[in-house]
């Protein structure tokens, strides 16, 4: 425990370029591993980080921040992933959450897919102010 304790704090990664996404993904994998998540769960988390990070790079104007924190609720262990930005925001969230909706020729599975990969998922966005996605995974 003391050895891995330093890993178990909240981590914030500024994501503005594609290389930053790899960095965030590696941090997510390390945290998931330290918390005892299975390989499959860690892979799901890493993919969710990839999706949200990619949206920060390609849809938010100046990128954004990925933050990862261990959750320690009574009797269970989890992990929270937050992606926030001050980009253009999403006018119609319900529409953006539909499969196959993309503004730049993507597959449009990023947001709905992330919701399916994680146990909990919340998205809030205001046009002109920014977007914030919070997703959680429980052990």
């Amino acid at each position: 425990m003391p050895d891995s304790a330093h890993k178990l704090r909240q981590i914030e990664i500024v994501v503005t370029r594609e290389v930053d996404i790899s960095h965030a993904r590696q941090a997510a994998l390390a945290l998931a591993q330290a918390l005892g998540f299975s390989r499959a769960a860690a892979y799901r988390l890493a993919t969710a980080v990839s999706e949200l990070g990619t949206n920060l790079v390609f849809h938010a104007t100046h990128g954004g921040i990925i933050s990862l924190s261990p959750l320690d609720a009574p009797g269970r262990v989890g992990l929270e992933l937050v992606a926030s930005d001050d980009g253009p925001g999403i006018a119609d969230i319900d529409h953006a959450m539909c499969d196959g909706v993309s503004e730049n020729g993507g597959l449009g599975s990023g947001l709905p897919g992330t919701r399916r990969l994680m146990d909990e998922f919340e998205i809030s966005s205001s046009p002109g102010i920014g977007t914030r996605v919070v997703a959680r995974l429980w052990l």
Binding site: R44, G110, G113
Partner: protein, 275 residues
């Protein structure tokens, strides 16, 4: 009373000696240090001699700043640390202090003024130094990643009309573009009918990577070649299903071995033991 430029010029050798001592204390000096800092000091003296304002953006400072930028960039390329390069220029401040104190002690006002001027110039130079250093480093990094791109996607002819490309590492936009070009070139160069794209070494297959793969498959089809994607891990397969990425148009096999068998089947070839 002497100007700042005169003072620095008069005490040049002493300042250089003190400057080198300081650098040596920090473990920074080497045989190239002396001529380099002498050159810097001489250019500084010349810049300060002119009547213009002691502003490093002024044309009279151009000669000095240009030299400083070159020194900094070449140190970045030679692998010196940014702090050692920063200390190099900052060391001048302390080294020149005693000379300035000796000359202006009779006039505290002037002393303060000249000392402030020198500080300001050196601060400006250190910022320049840092920027030049970072720029040079970024250039190196860009060059290195370009070089990595070149070697990271080899394509191999593994059988008549079958090429294979093992992908290792993250697939970002630049790399996806490179993979596409390499793959299409290999297909037309080898007149391949089947190409195997192995993704075992790709850390995460998200929707963007999936899209890149689908694009390669469609483009290859236009050249008359079928692509078989191999090496999805069980975790990747589960995740792709959750993402609901439609890979039905893509021929996939779990292992490279199964992919190769499929390639032979497509070419209606068989490998049989002799006898």
């Amino acid at each position: 009373m002497k100007t700042l430029s005169d003072v620095l010029s008069l005490h040049k050798d002493k300042i250089i000696a003190a400057w080198i001592d300081r650098l040596a204390e920090a473990g920074d000096g080497d045989s190239e240090t002396e001529p380099m800092i002498r050159e810097l000091l001489e250019r500084l003296i010349r810049a300060l001699k002119s009547d213009g304002p002691p502003d490093i953006k002024a044309p009279t400072f151009h000669d000095l700043t240009k030299h400083m930028i070159e020194v900094s960039a070449s140190r970045a390329r030679e692998g010196y640390s940014p702090s050692s390069t920063g200390r190099l220029i900052l060391g001048l401040k302390a080294a020149a202090d005693s000379a300035i104190a000796a000359e202006y002690s009779a006039d505290p006002d002037r002393w303060r003024r000249e000392s402030a001027t020198l500080s300001e110039v050196i601060d400006g130079l250190s910022i320049l130094t840092f920027e030049a250093f970072m720029r040079a480093r970024e250039e190196i990094i860009t060059r290195q990643s370009d070089a990595m791109l070149e070697i990271s996607t080899p394509s191999l002819l593994i059988w008549d009309e079958v090429v294979m490309m093992p992908l290792v590492g993250v697939i970002d936009t630049a790399r996806a573009q490179h993979i596409m070009e390499e793959m299409l070139n290999a297909i037309s160069r080898e007149q391949a009918r089947v190409a195997i794209l192995d993704v075992t070494g790709v850390p995460v297959i998200d929707t963007r990577v999936a899209l890149h793969l689908t694009n390669v498959v469609s483009a290859a089809r236009m050249l008359g070649a079928e692509i078989i994607v191999t090496g999805f891990s069980p975790e990747a397969a589960q995740t792709l299903v959750k993402l609901d990425v439609d890979l039905r148009t893509m021929r996939t096999r779990g292992t490279l071995r199964a992919g190769f068998a499929e390639a032979l089947r497509l070419l209606q070839c068989q490998i049989r033991p002799i006898g």
